[in-house]
Amino acid sequence: MNFKDSNYMIIENAFSTAFSDVIETMTGLMVKDLDINEENEISNDTDISGAMLLKGRCSGFSTISMKKRSASVLVAYMTGIPHYKLNDEEIFDGVAELINLLSGRAKTILKGSEFHFELSPPFTIVGENHYILYKGKSDVFRKIYYIGNILVELNIYFAS
């Protein structure tokens, strides 16, 4: 932890709450969060990431990353369309929508606080075992979530 522990906790709580709210509402699946350790870290084993830029008191970058198969399952639960019937465009759009919703929810939670921010449009990054590098002086909040047996990694990079 850095960026004054209390500030970090405020942002962590906002994005953690947002993540759970969005996933549970849109998919009906329960979310369990874990601290990242060597056994569950998936940063180097993801095929798809949704991302948005955060602009404000805490400028930064929010991402959710997962395997493409995991993304197809989440989008299937969101839409009611079986995962094997989803095409790439639908999966990619679904991931973008998830980061859009959770970042928007976090924004609402932090509204009125000193950490209020605005959002860029969402975008999706696709590539086997891709890695996202956010340059610039920033702290990072990282969390792994279990959604059923799906692993999703949430990263919030913010410049303090």
């Binding site: 849109m26 989008v75 009611g80 369309i81 919703l101």
Partner: protein, 128 residues
């Protein structure tokens, strides 16, 4: 009965399509306000409800809402905003511009169906 979904998210339109299928309504779709106007022009006599996103490329939802509420052909079609915009001032702005209902994303399928039926004056869950 036809609904019109104006939203730049393919997945949100798919979710709304799922609700429409359950309700046995036909869903027309548009990716932004400009396309929404084109669809509306061709189908306005048959559209019972517009589900409208706010933040879209090209013409956004608020601009679309203002245009249709100023047009005698379209002004009586009820509009439900379906958006991540949750700030009170935006909700008031949309209602003053003529939106009949306002639903904030994220939402469950059940809530969506309930709100669509409410907009159509057909009650809630008891209807299906």
């Amino acid at each position: 009965m036809k609904l019109l979904s104006v939203d730049d998210s393919l997945i949100v339109r798919k979710i709304i399509k799922g609700a429409s299928d359950i309700l046995e309504f036909e869903l027309l779709e548009a990716e932004d306000g400009n396309e929404g106007l084109e669809v509306l022009e061709k189908n306005y006599e048959d559209i019972s409800l517009i589900l409208l996103d706010w933040n879209m490329p090209g013409m956004d939802g608020y601009s679309f809402l203002k245009i249709i509420k100023a047009d005698d052909k379209f002004k009586d079609i009820p509009v439900m905003m379906v958006t991540t915009e949750s700030e009170q001032e935006n909700i008031v702005k949309a209602i003053k511009a003529g939106a009949k209902h306002y639903m904030i994303k994220p939402f469950s399928m059940e809530e969506l169906i309930k709100r669509v039926l409410e907009c159509l004056g057909r009650g809630g869950e008891d209807e299906f």
